[in-house]
């Protein structure tokens, strides 16, 4: 187990290093960072001056050396939009808000999908199953921003029950969390359902039925344990996807000041350093979630091997 965890963490570190290199190359080598920062009407002289000022005129390998050295000291660079302010400072302020939103959304998604999927799996092809499958399919087809805007139209504009957006307590959190959760509920319900159907059709469930175990025990103790492995993987996948992109959309719709919202601000303010710090931090978070899920996975099912 210890060896498994170590190897998995090693793989995770590799991904983080790779992400650092990719973000560096994307922002310095493959695209024109000065062109991104300066307005279109900037003159050649202005461009050259800015290039020297930001150190972009040096050889790429020297720049990379400096970049890595700074990162190793925990220095992620200064914001261009708020000069003098370290980008990591902005992350420290916005990340907890994003984590709050993702935690709420994903708790809701998993909490709804587990019972719904299990109910649907009880009688595949039955009326309840077909209704649930239809609803799930509709849910997973709706983009998060559309779900969010629909919720705003109904609950904020028409009924005036909840605020249109902004950061705050439970009332502010509710709609964005639902918008983030709904498509995930659709996808996860389908996964729980099909995993449960497969398990319920297996030999060991037949044996359990034959020896007279109560249905509830068969469901919770036998079938769900085995279906859980698949469900866990897909839940982890949903969490990483929420962290690595869907929050950006939801945060924009509800003006929720998390790091996704600030990523868009950074694009608007042409703050390339803040943007790359956000992507880097998101990459680290995604790796952490993946490693944790894989280790949990191993705890549930010791047969799994690291590839």
């Amino acid at each position: 187990m210890g060896l498994f965890a170590l190897r998995r963490i090693g793989q995770g570190l590799f991904v983080v290093v790779a992400a650092t290199v990719v973000v560096f190359l994307l922002t310095r080598a493959f695209t024109d960072p000065v062109g991104f920062i300066l307005p279109l009407e900037a003159t050649e002289a202005e461009r050259a001056a800015r290039e020297v000022e930001l150190g972009f005129d040096r050889p790429i390998i020297v720049q990379f050396g400096d970049y890595v050295e700074d990162l190793s000291r925990g220095d992620f660079g200064e914001s261009l939009w708020q000069p003098g302010r370290p980008t990591i400072d902005i992350i420290g302020q916005t990340l907890p808000k994003t984590l709050k939103l993702v935690a709420a959304g994903m708790t809701l998604a998993i909490g709804l999908a587990l019972p719904l999927g299990m109910i649907a799996a009880r009688r595949p092809g039955g009326l309840l199953d077909r209704v649930l499958v239809t609803i799930s399919l509709i849910g997973l087809s709706m983009p998060q921003f559309f779900v969010g805007l629909l919720l705003i139209i109904v609950f904020a504009v028409q009924l005036r029950w909840l605020p249109v957006g902004g950061y705050g307590g439970f009332k502010h959190l509710l709609l964005p969390a639902i918008a983030l959760a709904l498509p995930a509920v659709g996808r996860l319900t389908m996964v729980v359902r099909s995993a449960m159907i497969d398990e319920l059709n297996s030999q060991y469930v037949l044996v359990a039925k034959a020896k007279g175990l109560p249905t509830r025990a068969i469901y919770t103790k036998h079938a769900f344990r085995n279906a859980g492995v698949q469900v866990l993987t897909l839940s982890g996948w949903e969490i990483t996807r929420a962290l690595a992109g869907f929050t950006v959309v939801v945060e924009k719709v509800f003006a929720w000041p998390g790091f996704g919202f600030f990523a868009l601000e950074a694009i608007q303010r042409r703050d390339i350093f803040l943007l790359s710090t956000i992507v880097l931090v998101a990459a680290i978070l995604v790796v952490v979630v993946n490693v944790v899920i894989d280790i949990l996975y191993k705890l549930i099912d010791p047969r799994i091997e690291v590839s």
Binding site: Q11, F146, V286
Partner: protein, 336 residues
């Protein structure tokens, strides 16, 4: 009567390339059905899967109206009409049938914009499928067939990139390159090729050990020929299903990127952009957000329905399951 060698299964296909004798091929064909018969069978099967049928119908309608947009659309999608600004949909109070789904803040016809917007979604979807699919299949073939170091390097890249925050890196790339349809295609193709590579490699690894591939190698076929003529045809069914599912994901991703303002140009017509511009007027003109939103959802839903139908017909086991399920249901109905 034409016999389609490609559709006749792998063994026959192999015979044709070994013997090169078309007559022998026709003689051996154990079910020499014509293409039209196969198509007819497919349509019958599609009719049985009502959801898949509806999906195909909706998508055909969408494609036709996108292709013939200038003929179908009631108005020029860019034509501003300041007299008829923010008209609600025709069926609600103050609506007018000359603007069936209403108009936006500049008096542009919502329905016409949706019809033209379908062009961007469909084009981006297909272009990304082709670029990402080609790259992924090629690299997957190479990894699976060559093995060894090639395989390790390619698969390491795939595994690493899969663990990246995909959409955020797409947003970063798109904002650096600058908004345009080409940007969206590049960014989403880079974002999505890995899944094809993985699947292709898996299929290649399982097919590589079969007798007919070994036979082809023994009689001296070159590696490229073995890959293209003997291994590649096995990929047709799984890749088609995967491509359809990916199409849905791409339509959603394009809409999201455009909604965030890093996708297509502001002057392009795209569903995601229309939702973004409608967001500012959400308090008094809900239809500006709801109409494109519904269309995106319906498109993705139809594609998912078609994908699940394809998965069933491509997989004999699934097919059997479905057959059994209908029989059981029929039996239950007769009993009750």
């Amino acid at each position: 009567m034409t016999i389609d060698a490609h559709d006749e299964g792998v063994e026959l296909h192999d015979l044709s390339s070994v013997s090169g004798d078309e007559l022998a091929l026709a003689g051996i064909s154990h079910h020499g059905r014509t293409r039209s018969a196969r198509v007819r069978e497919l349509i019958v099967e599609l009719w049985h899967d009502k959801a898949g049928f509806i999906g195909v119908c909706f998508l055909s309608m969408l494609v036709v109206s996108a292709v013939f947009a200038p003929l179908v659309a009631p108005h020029d999608p860019r034509q501003q009409d300041l007299v008829n600004r923010v008209q609600p949909p025709a069926w609600s109070d103050g609506g007018d049938w000359s603007f069936p789904l209403g108009t936006d803040g500049l008096g542009r016809d919502v329905l016409s914009r949706l019809i033209y917007g379908a062009r961007v979604s469909i084009f981006v979807g297909l272009a990304v499928l082709v670029v990402a699919g080609l790259a992924g299949v090629l690299l997957g073939l190479l990894a699976g067939y060559r093995g060894g170091r090639t395989d390790r390097v390619i698969m390491r890249i795939v595994d690493t990139q899969v663990a990246f925050p995909g959409l955020l890196i797409a947003i970063l790339m798109a904002s650096l390159i600058g908004p345009s349809i080409r940007t969206v295609v590049i960014v989403l193709a880079i974002n999505g090729w890995m899944i094809y590579a993985r699947m292709t490699r898996g299929v290649v690894l399982s097919v590589k050990e079969t007798d007919y591939v070994e036979a082809a190698e023994i009689i001296g076929c070159k590696a490229r020929r073995v890959m293209w003529r003997h291994i590649l045809p096995n990929l047709a069914a799984p890749i088609t299903t995967l491509a359809v599912i990916e199409f849905a994901r791409i339509v959603l991703a394009e809409a999201a990127l455009s909604f965030l303002g890093v996708g297509v140009k502001r002057t392009d017509i795209s569903w995601g952009l229309d939702v973004a511009s409608g967001q500012d007027q959400i308090f008094n003109s809900w239809w500006l957000v709801v109409m494109p939103g519904i269309l995106i959802s319906l498109t993705v839903l139809s594609v998912s329905l078609v994908a699940s139908w394809l998965r069933v017909i491509a997989d004999p086991q699934e097919r059997e399951k479905r057959f059994a399920a209908t029989q059981i249901r029929r039996g239950a109905r007769d009993d009750g």
